[in-house]
């Protein structure tokens, strides 16, 4: 398993603008203007990766707004407030043993 620093370096290779912040002891990664899969409207959105368990999901990817994509999704989080911003998320479960960059990619599969 890659160390957290290795995972972060990999995340930065894919998302050079990524930033980090913590809230209540939980580390989050903000990816401004994350490119969403083809067919999504809008095609980019700010995203917040929570790489640890939250609400029964091993990890979550929050988006700044609901996006429309080819497949209807269950948006079971609306306007949840994290790091003083409102976020939205679909119900989407990914493998818990992924690296950070892989997590982002796996969550984006929900929007294909």
């Amino acid at each position: 398993m890659a160390t957290i620093d290795e995972q972060i370096r990999e995340l930065l290779r894919h998302h050079p603008d990524a930033e980090e912040g913590t809230e209540a002891g939980v580390r989050y990664f903000l990816i401004p203007g994350l490119r969403l899969p083809d067919g999504c409207t809008p095609d980019r959105a700010a995203a917040l990766l929570c790489p640890t368990a939250r609400d029964g999901y091993p990890s979550r990817l929050f988006l700044e707004k609901r996006v429309s994509c080819r497949t209807a999704r269950n948006w079971n989080v609306s306007n949840v407030r994290i790091l003083e911003r409102n976020w939205f998320a679909v119900s989407w479960r990914v493998n818990p043993n992924l690296r950070l960059a892989q997590m982002v990619a796996a969550h984006l599969e929900a929007f294909r």
Partner: protein, 483 residues
């Protein structure tokens, strides 16, 4: 120490200021109130006092520095939030009997380095050891602006200032970013149990001025303290959720005379609410009156001129309104909402009181009605520390997202829980029971009618929060990642 004998002249800051090319002395006259609120956790306030009261081998008094972070509340008002106190080491004092205290260049360099490295505001702190709102001396007016100028040189985008403490109160001058003249905060709050709510431009609020309005109406609650009604009229309370619990809460706050209220609820009244929604009438269900409108009618019937901000939506849409509150009472349905509210309140150093109830039935047993009242004080245990919020509970709730059916709700347990929460809020605001640093996690057994301290309090390992830290106070800071 009297203002005449108080002298916190530090010549060293002048050297720093000269190095930075800021020019000569600039004596202040009377700073005016500005759009600023200062909040300091009670634990931090006590820590500062304990340090500043220590006798010094040669100086007549001690000084220190307070790091602050910030936030914005309603109307662009700046929240200045105390987070960390820095003791000036013994070796950094300079012996000079012409002044009460002088600190050396190392102390100032340390302060400037702290600003530079954290990009947080810094306040010079000293103390006048008496009760009531302390004032600033002539020396403060002459010397402190030069010190703050040097702070501004290294931390341009954050507020800096001067804080003077007394035994039970505080006063401050705040230099907003880019400003050469300070302002006096509209309010300084020592956030704790009880809370000290100081209005520097109305110093009598803390030394016995009776409330000027409605003395007769509130005469039966004057036992709460000679200044209680003026504090009640000043304090701003927020209620999130104006349904079964929140409608009781806002009604009681109006009866008590709270003149500044804000509330949030996006729901409309319907027939199923009439069994418990205080203030609701039959026609409200027919017309689907917003719950905020029912709450406003309730309050205006008692306090026609009250300053009420009621938002017919979620608090997350108007977080700046919530941030201006001195206490927030949450009457929400879900654990996830409680987590968000607690996080927001801790971020802006606001005591959060949570109430809730539920009815469960297992098999053929009679229904069990249970509820809770929890106080989440910014520097005390949070709802995770108390075991009320757990990741498992949040996960279970998330898994039931969208489950159909209204949960059982009745009027009387809401009344018990709301009244209990109001009792806690009143003690925080007025301190009438003289309890200090009280931990509140009360459990309600609706079947027996008992309200008692939750058993978990006995097993609490310590009274400090293990989940929220200094970094969780103020507007969040996101960092570019460096590995």
């Amino acid at each position: 120490m009297t203002p005449a004998s108080h002298s916190s002249a530090e010549d060293v800051p002048c050297e720093e200021a000269a190095e930075a090319g800021t020019g000569g002395a600039h004596r202040l006259h009377d700073p005016q109130p500005g759009p600023v609120r200062v909040r300091i956790p009670h634990v931090l306030f006590e820590k500062m006092k304990a340090d500043l009261r220590r006798p010094h081998p040669f100086a007549a008094e001690r000084v220190g520095f307070l790091s602050v972070t910030t936030g914005r509340s309603e109307g662009g008002e700046l929240l200045v939030l105390g987070i960390e106190y820095h003791v000036v080491p013994e070796a950094h004092y300079v012996e000079d009997h012409r002044v009460g205290v002088r600190i050396g260049v190392e102390a100032i360099r340390g302060a400037l380095e702290r600003i530079r490295s954290t990009q947080r505001g810094l306040f010079h702190v000293h103390m006048h050891d008496y009760r009531g709102v302390p004032g600033f001396s002539g020396t403060d007016r002459r010397e402190q602006p030069r010190l703050v100028e040097s702070f501004q040189r290294v931390g341009r985008r954050v507020p800096h200032g001067v804080l003077v403490l007394s035994d039970d109160s505080a006063n401050a001058w705040v230099w907003l970013p880019g400003e050469t003249e300070p302002v006096v905060p509209r309010q300084i709050t020592i956030v704790g149990y009880p809370m000290a709510l100081v209005v520097p431009d109305l110093p009598l609020i803390h030394v016995g001025q009776p409330a000027v309005s409605s003395l007769e109406r509130f005469s039966r609650q004057s036992f709460l303290g000679p200044t209680s009604q003026s504090i009640i009229e000043r304090a701003r309370l927020g209620i999130v959720g104006l349904g079964g619990g929140g409608s009781h809460v806002i009604q009681q706050l109006a009866h008590i005379g709270f003149g500044h209220l804000c509330g949030f609820d996006g729901d409309l009244a319907d027939e199923t609410n009439l069994n418990r929604l205080i203030g609701a009438r039959e026609d409200d269900a027919k017309r689907q009156t917003p719950k905020t409108e029912i709450a406003e009618r309730l309050v205006r019937g008692l306090l026609p001129d009250a300053d009420i901000v009621l938002h017919p939506g979620r608090w997350q849409d108007r977080p700046e309104v919530l941030r201006a509150c001195d206490i927030v009472i949450g009457c929400v349905d879900s654990f996830a909402e409680r987590r968000e509210l607690e996080t927001a309140c801790r971020r802006y150093l606001i005591p959060y009181i949570d109430i809730g109830m539920d009815v469960h039935q297992i098999g053929g047993d009679p229904p069990r009605m249970a509820g809770q009242v929890i106080l989440s004080m910014p520097d005390g245990p949070c709802m995770f520390c108390l075991g009320f919020l757990t990741e498992e509970r949040l996960a279970r709730e998330a898994a039931q997202y969208g489950a159909a059916g209204g949960r059982p709700q009745v009027v009387w347990p809401n009344g018990v829980l709301a009244s209990t929460a109001i009792g806690v809020a009143m003690d925080i605001v007025t301190g009438w029971t003289r309890q200090r640093d009280r931990l509140v996690y009360l459990s309600y057994d609706g079947n027996t009618g008992e309200v008692k301290p939750h058993v978990r309090l006995r097993f609490l390992r310590n009274h400090r929060c293990e989940h929220y830290g200094v970094g969780d106070v103020g507007d969040p800071i996101l960092h570019r990642i460096a590995v």
